[in-house]
């Protein structure tokens, strides 16, 4: 699992781990049932505090992206996210707000934005 942490980002490190892990799962680079590195190992690899990694893993587990099996480690969930549809949409709504605001700021209109989203979706599909 290759993650890139940048402390100067302004985004807290645990959040960076969570986001990147979610991206990897979403783009298929982490398949369901695959084991995530143990907290210690990932902490050493990224050179960050193990508590930070633990927090990231806890959040990923809470979000349903991964599951912790007793004693044997953390694995990517088999089924998709167990969140209810409404909750999932709420998460995405936050992202959408940011995207829409930025588009407004850059004076890109809605049709162009939708075309862009379709294009990125196609690109991700083709990578699988």
């Amino acid at each position: 699992m290759l993650l890139h942490i940048s402390p100067k980002d302004g985004v807290p490190i645990y959040r960076q781990i969570v986001n990147q892990a979610k991206y990897l799962v979403g783009s298929g680079r982490l398949v369901p049932g695959e084991e995530l590195p143990p907290i210690r190992v990932l902490a050493e690899q990224l050179v960050v505090n193990p508590n930070t990694v633990a927090r990231a893993y806890a959040e990923l587990e809470h979000a349903g992206v991964v599951t912790k099996r007793h004693g044997s480690g953390t694995y990517v969930s088999d089924n998709g996210s167990p969140l209810k549809r409404g909750e999932k949409l709420k998460i995405l709504a936050q992202r959408a707000d940011g995207l829409v605001a930025e588009a407004q700021h850059l004076e890109i209109d809605l049709s162009e934005l939708l075309e862009l989203i379709r294009e990125r979706h196609r690109a991700m599909q083709s990578k699988e």
Binding site: P7, K8, D9, I13, Y14, A43, V47, N49
Partner: protein, 313 residues
Amino acid sequence: MNMPTSSPHEPVIAINGLSRRFKSKLALETVSLAVERGQVFGLVGANGAGKTTLIKHVLGLLKAESGFVRVFGRDPVAEPVAVLSRVGFLSEDRDLPGWMRVDELIRYTRAFHRAWDSAYAERLREQFQLDPAARIKQLSRGELAKAGLLVALAHRPELLVLDEPSSGLDPVVRREMLEAIVRTVADEGRTVFFSSHLLDEIERVSDRVAMMAKGRVVLQGRLDEILESHFRLTLRFPTPPPAQPKLAGALHLTGGGLEWTALCNGARGELEAAAAVLGARIVEDTPASLDEIFLARMGGERSISDQLQPKVK
């Protein structure tokens, strides 16, 4: 040597109201902080802020003039053996005897600690690529720091105290040192207390952070809380304000012309209200990184000291 272990809920380092004066200069001013077991505590500050002085108090090399210092519940000046046998220390100037060889250093330091793990020491030595026959005065800066870290880690101390572990080191060695520190933390119950002026490494590995400036602790708390409570707001004014606008809740204001960026420390509502009063619009709202927070706080200190001192014409 039968030392009763301290209770698990007692802070490993407890400093309360510590002050210290060197001749006329006040090096520490009523410093209070606590380091809990298993924590990584980062001490941030510019050069001369008092970090090394504070660390020397923790090790018992300086006596507390006022206030007290307790490590594992004991006074390090009164009970040096009980404290120092459970502490691994890397000094800022890495003063190891230059005439010793690396293997002699390891053998010598081993004699002082019953809990020394020779296999672990050997693993570290190989990992750090230290030639056992090399003399310490021939080692490069990075190797010297690694040698110092080796003898600090090899007896698996409950508390690891590091004074500027990465100062003067190239990125490769810096990473090695940090990796070794992270590995120490991952072992259960080990506490790390380190000082640095390199904020990105503080941000990576610390649980709690204390910022020092001119001998005082200006900010202290959990790292994630600090990062979450400080953020950067960029405000756009309709007309350029005449002078630097005064905004409540803003720690530090930079910019010019129509756009000004304020670093806010949690009093978001106040800042927004003040901005609204002046007719400014928020155009950007991002989390602040630790060095921005630090610079803003330090800048604040400097302006406070300017206000206290009369301007000399």
